[in-house]
Symmetry: C2
Subunit: 390 residues, 2 copies
């Protein structure tokens, strides 16, 4: 998918950070990080997977046997680097696949060299369970296991030119999917029929911009229940007077470009009009100050001051780093746009700025996915930012 | 969604098992188990969630603040039982939301009573990370934490009459989605356009059988790459001579009915013809012996003997318990149809029998979702079981 040189550069960057953290090896379990480092891509992450990244020497990818058999079709690894654990370790009360993996590493002579440093774990990764963790603790007593604090995720924060092209392609899928939502939202239409058209458009894509599966299903918070962002659809029928929030992502080869808009069926209430104005003003102010070299907390404070002028505040973060995603999340879990974040923006970082206002009994969302440039930002989509009146 | 009496019965069954295992409390983190016990349903499981189930006294559901605000819309809990943790605990390197949750439990006086027994954890649950586990270990030293071994999952194994109705409704979605796949699969059509129609049909559903989001995206292993089951689609164009495996689920209100079929574009090879015959014979033999009271291992051995007559074997399990699902898996993680499983079938258990044969350079799948009855089985869908020739 990417040229070999790009994978080599990614691994070099990861090993550079490993050296800084004194790691003799890193155990990668996050499917997005597996994909980033090896290209491995399959819906196999519901059983344990582990990429062994030693400070030097060859990587080893451990997967369930049935997945290991075909992993060479997506992973840029030699077949000898892909190791299947036996089926009898799957979903068994007193076994865990990592018992077997630990033994396999030992048999291959990879345990002792790794023990020359600490061994980093993705301690907060989805799909790395406490059972798997304890299995490693018990089976590898010579290892000093430490939290690697999303080491690979941080390498992912700055995108390469090739990755940016994928994001631009994904953005075309995003636009088509948002248009499908807006076209379908009408009084009398049940939510699930809107979601069905969005789901179709997300996978269909546009011309060569074919759609990959999104890490989150489309969200359609509607009317009073738009006071909370993550309720999924039902057969609830849209009515005149409903504000329907649409949050979705277009995806191309695992790269996500999220987008949110709010569609108003009928005239908006005064409260919603106020939110529209406040959010538009806040988002514009934030985009005005955003550029490489700017501290993230400056974006947060710009946003907070802009909202304060309208007597409003938003307790949740304004946005987060975005790129590769696997269910259940398309965020990269590194930089969050909030005052506690110490990061400084760099060129070719990409963010989803999500101005989500979840009030009591109503809500409003507008968002932009952006790339940081030397002097400002590139918006990845170009959807009008206003409340959409139908 | 279900009457109060049904939720009460579920909780009683869970507490019965807790008493047997000597648990003073159980901490539930699996979104399917949260849904089962409280009805709480949202795409919020990518940040930590925890249901505190004490041996006696009221349940407490801990969620991220923005999700807690609207959780009463789906959870059958009093607002006072739903507690939001502050946004500043989300994705922070040296904090975890369970630090806050532990403190909140202590402040509410719930720690000491729970310590009268062990406290059960879902040690292998997706979305319960080692970081969250260590946070509980450190903050609650008076608790003896033990693996609860999928306690709630085991209660879920036998379905109530109301759950079976949901499954029958989901089966109508399954049938529509499979038909959409078969209608779209043609030489010259790229995989993603097939997936798009399946995704649409899965959400659209049929009449009042509206479609909920599936825990796994549709799988379309095609041609040579059908030797591995979990590769997702791309823009690869289907060709005359391709065998296209379709594995998908119809879903209604989180209840899943999976189904797999194989579509042949053109005449099948002799190897594929052999697989078709072997699998048909094996599946029929298995269904013939399946009924309440039969040990699971008898199904496995029947299947293995039937395959052996064709000189074939299948190293992976033949099936698994199915029902409520959240990404990334619709299996219940309890009973697997394989010789190592000690379970005995009971009436109203439901299974996905997946006869997936992943060979070298080709593959074949046929499956059935079934309910166990006193005297045999009820097939939840009625799709012809043969290789579909187009």
């Amino acid at each position: 998918m990417f040229p070999d040189a790009e994978y080599a550069a990614r691994l070099r960057a990861v090993r550079g950070r490993m050296a800084e953290q004194g790691l003799g090896a890193l155990l990668v379990t996050d499917p997005a990080n597996l994909f980033y480092l090896t290209g491995y891509d399959a819906w196999s992450f519901y059983t344990p997977q582990l990429l062994f990244v030693p400070a030097e020497g060859e990587l080893l990818l451990f997967l369930r046997e049935m997945d290991a058999n075909g992993a060479f079709r997506t992973a840029r690894l030699d077949p000898g680097q892909i190791v299947g654990y036996p089926e009898r370790y799957v979903h068994r009360p007193h076994l865990h696949p990592f018992d077997w993996v630990a033994f396999a590493l030992r048999r291959r002579g990879r345990v002792a060299p790794a023990a020359r440093g600490c061994v980093g774990l993705e301690m907060d990764s989805h799909f790395f369970s406490p059972k798997g963790y304890r299995s490693l603790v018990n089976a590898l007593p010579e290892w000093t296991l430490v939290d690697a604090f999303d080491l690979v995720n941080w390498v992912r924060a700055v995108k390469s030119p090739a990755e940016i092209q994928y994001l631009r392609t994904a953005a075309r899928v995003t636009t088509a999917a948002m248009q499908a939502a807006i076209d379908t939202i009408e009084p009398g239409v049940p939510q699930h029929l809107v979601a069905a058209q969005v789901a179709r458009a997300q996978v269909e894509g546009v011309d060569d911009a074919w759609g990959d599966f999104p890490a989150m299903v489309p969200m359609l918070p509607t009317g009073a229940s738009a006071d909370t962002p993550h309720l999924t659809w039902s057969d609830r029928v849209l009515r005149e007077g409903d504000a329907v929030v649409v949050e979705l992502a277009g995806v191309h080869r695992r790269y996500h470009v999220p987008l949110a808009r709010t569609v108003m069926l009928g005239p908006p209430t005064a409260e919603l009009g106020l939110l529209e104005e406040a959010v538009a003003s806040g988002l514009e102010a934030v985009l005005d100050v955003t550029a490489a070299g700017v501290p993230v907390r400056e974006l947060a404070s710009t946003w907070n001051w802009a909202l304060a002028e309208f007597g409003l505040e938003k307790p949740s973060r304004l946005g987060y780093s975005v790129g590769i995603g696997y269910p259940p999340d398309w965020g990269e879990r590194t930089i969050s746009i909030r005052s506690e974040d110490e990061s400084v923006l760099a060129e070719n970082m990409t963010f989803h700025l999500i101005c989500g206002m979840w009030m009591t009994g109503y809500g409003y969302e507008v968002s932009e996915s952006i790339r940081i440039t030397a002097t400002g930002t590139e918006a990845l989509t170009s959807f009008p930012r206003a409340l959409i009146r139908k």
